[in-house]
């Protein structure tokens, strides 16, 4: 779990370069959905990134992930997530949705030689109580998960 969140932070630093952000500075993370199964093999996290992002505003990240394979082994999946038709929506309770910024896909080593296949979609930040749920389309099949408005710790 920590490895996945760390990966998100690293990816965020990579895609949002800012001269005001010292290299290696860590973002603060707050999960709205914590590694919830989406299908038999794919999990979803919804995370709020905030603070420590220099001049960048906070944002929401929907991360799809699955264990890919141990390094050196052939993948059991015919194609990585980046090769699949993926779309993500963050739904607001008022019937609208949160604007998307960009996405990032990567296959990277996690722990014990296991590779993780990850696609992250970045959204504008909105108050977490405004987020009602997330919808993911993978190769035309739709999944929805509710996001409860837990009070911020």
């Amino acid at each position: 779990m920590l490895a996945r969140h760390f990966l998100i932070a690293v990816m965020t630093l990579a895609i949002l370069p800012s001269p005001q952000v010292p290299s290696g500075q860590m973002h603060s993370l707050r999960p709205l959905l914590n590694t919830v199964p989406l299908s038999d093999e794919i999990n979803v996290d919804v995370i709020e990134l905030f603070e420590g992002v220099g001049t960048q505003p906070p944002m929401l990240v929907v991360q799809l992930g699955r264990l890919s394979t141990r390094s050196g082994e052939s993948s059991p999946h015919p194609q990585p997530l980046s090769g699949m038709a993926i779309q993500v929506w963050l739904l607001r309770a008022d019937g609208t949705s949160v604007a998307q910024r960009q996405r990032w896909s990567i296959v990277a080593p996690a722990m014990a030689g296991v590779m993780t296949d990850t696609t992250s979609v970045f959204f504008d930040d909105v108050p977490r109580q405004d987020v009602a749920g997330g919808v993911v389309s993978i190769d035309g099949k739709l999944y929805v998960r509710e996001i409860k408005a837990n009070p911020a710790p």
Binding site: Q87, V88, W89, L91, A93, G95, T96, S97, A99, Q100, A132, G133, V135, S137, G140, K141, L142, Y143, V144, R145, E146, K148
Partner: protein
């Protein structure tokens, strides 16, 4: 003859929805999602593209609740029900108006039951741009794919 007119009149009165629901009537031009059960609370969900009746075209999402005895409250509430039409590009379709309660009282005379529902109206969108419809009822969410034949 008079008896026949009387019968027709009574039948018409029986099948006409109430005035608030009548305002939402339109000319459907294409069924995007045929009526199908969604949950215990939603006995039918349908999505229809319509051409409007002197008004703008759009897309209507109709939710139908279970049959209840005449006089009972609508088990579906606009306060606890929300609908999103999601587009393939990652956005959602904006609504045209506030959701409306509907009532089908066709069976009230014979069986003493009515069927309430909710009607959500959205801005017009090319059907092939739609990915699906999401419904939230009392905090529980459901999703159905919309697949439109490009030739239709």
């Amino acid at each position: 003859m008079i008896a026949r007119y009387l019968t027709v009149g009574l039948l018409t009165l029986g099948i006409l929805p109430d005035p608030s629901a009548q305002r939402a009537q339109a000319h459907p031009s294409q069924t995007l999602l045929a009526p199908a059960p969604l949950s215990d609370e939603i006995t039918a969900l349908s999505v229809t593209e319509y051409s409007g009746m002197g008004g703008p075209p759009g897309v209507q999402v109709a939710l139908q609740g279970p049959q209840v005895h005449d006089g009972a409250r609508n088990p579906l509430s606009v306060r606890t029900t929300q609908v999103w039409l999601v587009r393939k590009d990652g956005t959602t379709v904006g609504d045209l108006s506030h959701p409306m309660e509907t009532i089908d009282n066709a069976s009230v005379r014979d069986f003493g039951v009515v069927t309430y529902g909710l009607l959500f109206s959205f801005q017009p969108v090319p059907p092939q741009d739609l990915a699906g419809v999401v419904v939230s009822v009392n905090g529980k969410m459901y999703v159905r794919e919309i697949k439109v034949n490009p030739a239709s």
